[in-house]
């Protein structure tokens, strides 16, 4: 396995408030990596720092290329797509326009064929392709947000709390799909999640985030065996 994303000593925050204090994490090509952490640990900040949505310091290397000084709109082009927290769909645009928006960064390629591919995986989106995205249910919007990110043909998919505000059954379906995308297509995924039990099921490696630094990391099995982490985050 090779390192796809290598983050070292990442420092970021909002204005005068520093949230991340020197965070290190690696994502290997072809794996699902999960960041676990409580509210306010800095999970979303980590995602936003990697995808260039906030200013940050430190090393962020993607396929050996530094992203640290790149802006968000160029980072997509490097092959890293983020599904933001709260889904971030274009609510006034139709489902189909949202999909097209996902392909915005691409030069050429067959957008219609790719769209059909994701419609096959998410048939409900196809049924609602002419509806405004804002009229979809939370679960459907999350599926749209994932499809939109996939339309950019990313090498790494960042998902920021996909389970937020969704019914457990929908969340399970979503994680099932993320797991399949990884297993069947070899898509590398970095997920931030509060629902640790669910996320652990598809994870290869796990990072535990506490007040802006990684306090434990390892394979999913190692973390599940770690008593302290298990009690704090997995609840058994």
């Amino acid at each position: 396995m090779s390192v796809l994303l290598d983050v070292k000593d990442l420092v970021a925050g909002y204005g005068a408030v520093q949230v991340l204090h020197g965070l290190d994490l690696q994502v290997q090509t072809g794996e699902v990596a999960v960041i676990l952490g409580a509210n306010g640990a800095g999970k979303t900040t980590t995602m936003r720092a990697i995808s260039g949505m906030i200013s940050r310091k430190g090393t962020i290397e993607f396929e050996g290329r530094s992203l640290a000084s790149m802006s968000a709109n160029d980072i997509v082009r490097a092959g890293l797509a983020q599904v933001p927290q709260g889904r971030g769909t274009f609510t006034d645009l139709s489902v189909e326009d949202n999909m097209r928006a996902g392909a915005y960064s691409r030069k050429g390629g067959d957008v219609a064929t790719d769209m059909k591919e994701w419609y096959d995986i998410f048939p409900r989106l196809y049924e609602r392709r002419d509806q405004k995205a804002g009229s979809l249910s939370g679960g459907e919007q999350q599926m749209l947000a994932i499809s939109r990110a996939l339309m950019s043909k990313p090498k790494l998919l960042l998902c920021d709390e996909p389970s937020l505000g969704l019914a457990p059954i929908i969340t399970q379906e979503l994680f099932g799909i993320l797991g399949r995308l990884n297993a069947e297509r070899g898509l590398s995924i970095l997920v931030v999640e509060q629902n640790a039990n669910l996320a652990m099921k598809i994870a290869h490696s796990v990072f535990v985030l506490e007040t802006g630094t990684i306090v434990a990391s390892g394979t999913a099995a190692e973390i599940a065996d770690d008593d302290a982490v298990r009690k704090a985050y997995l609840g058994y």
């Binding site: 709109n73 645009l93 960064s105 009229s135």
Partner: protein, 304 residues
């Protein structure tokens, strides 16, 4: 006479629509009403006059002025609005008001004596005999037809731009969710520059149409147009291009009817031409009381 008044109202209304479209384009991208829209258009219109004065055709002069307006609008976004936006939303308002005053003063400075007005050539045939007789005494001047057709064609092009082009998609994304637009790879700064350029161009054409209609321009010409256009945009819902067009046309017609009818009925202009603008605003007030988001504005209902 009703038809005649409606016809007359449609051409001024079309101009309000065009300037209102310019306001909507910027509002959707930034959430700000561009107070300087009218005065930016004024500057461009005097520019067109200046080019025409050097012996070109009016069409050529307006085309060149519109192209320059595009770049001028982009420069204003880049050089003034963007830095102000980084400070605070209030700074943007202050800068826009300063720009309003500045553009007007600059125009006065460059065209001394223009307060009295400069003769402005219409883009369309405008001799007393240039009209189409609909029936009896009802006529449709070529000038009025030309204005309406120009605005409708530009509106059509604008909708095509929004719906069918990549920059149009980017503009819609930035209007709806700037963060997500960045995440899919949109350079939001460049998109806003484009929006300002586009808006300034729409204003420049609007100014040239007003000049042609009045056959004269003064440094005060665009102020009332801006007032009514921003009212039209508000009536339509501020973020809706369809609303801007409908709002502009209906405001033009309302104004024409209010200017003419009461005077005809009572033989007094107590309610009439002088109060037409006020009546138009009262109607807007009533519409907004009933429907605060305007006729076509999006009152955002989202499921989470």
């Amino acid at each position: 006479m009703l038809l005649q008044y409606i016809i007359n109202g449609l051409s001024t209304g079309a101009i309000y629509s065009l300037v209102a479209l310019g306001l909507v384009v910027i509002y959707r991208g930034t959430g700000h009403l561009n107070f300087a829209q009218g005065e930016m258009a004024l500057f461009a219109t005097f520019g067109a006059w200046w080019i025409y004065d050097h012996g070109t055709t009016m069409w050529f002069a307006v085309a060149i002025a519109s192209i320059f307006a595009f770049f001028g609008g982009a420069v204003i976004e880049f050089g003034l609005m963007r830095p102000a936006g980084k400070k605070s939303p209030l700074a943007v308002v202050v800068v826009a008001i300063a720009l309003f005053q500045g553009m007007n003063s600059l125009t006065t400075l460059l065209y001394k004596g223009s307060a009295d007005g400069l003769a402005f050539q219409s883009l369309f045939p405008n001799k007393p005999t240039d009209f189409w007789r609909i029936n009896g005494s009802t006529i449709w001047k070529f000038q009025d037809i030309g204005i309406l057709v120009t605005v409708l064609v530009l509106t059509g092009l604008l909708f095509g731009l929004f719906q069918k082009t990549k920059i149009g998609l980017a503009m819609r994304m930035v209007a709806n969710n700037p963060d997500s637009a960045k995440l899919v790879g949109v350079n939001t700064n460049r998109t806003l520059m484009f929006s300002w350029g586009l808006s300034a161009t729409l204003g420049a054409v609007g100014g040239a149409l007003v000049g042609g209609l009045n056959t004269n321009i003064t440094t005060a010409t665009m102020f009332e147009i801006f007032l009514l256009s921003s009212a039209a945009a508000t009536l339509g819902g501020l973020d809706s291009p369809v609303g801007a067009v409908v709002g502009g046309l209906s405001l033009g017609v309302i104004r024409s009817l209010v200017s003419n009818y009461p005077e005809e009925w009572w033989g007094s202009s107590y309610i009439g031409a002088e109060t037409a603008v006020a009546v138009a605003f009262i109607i807007i007030l009533v519409v907004l009381l009933v429907k605060p988001s305007g006729l076509f504005g999006s009152s955002r209902v989202e499921r989470v």
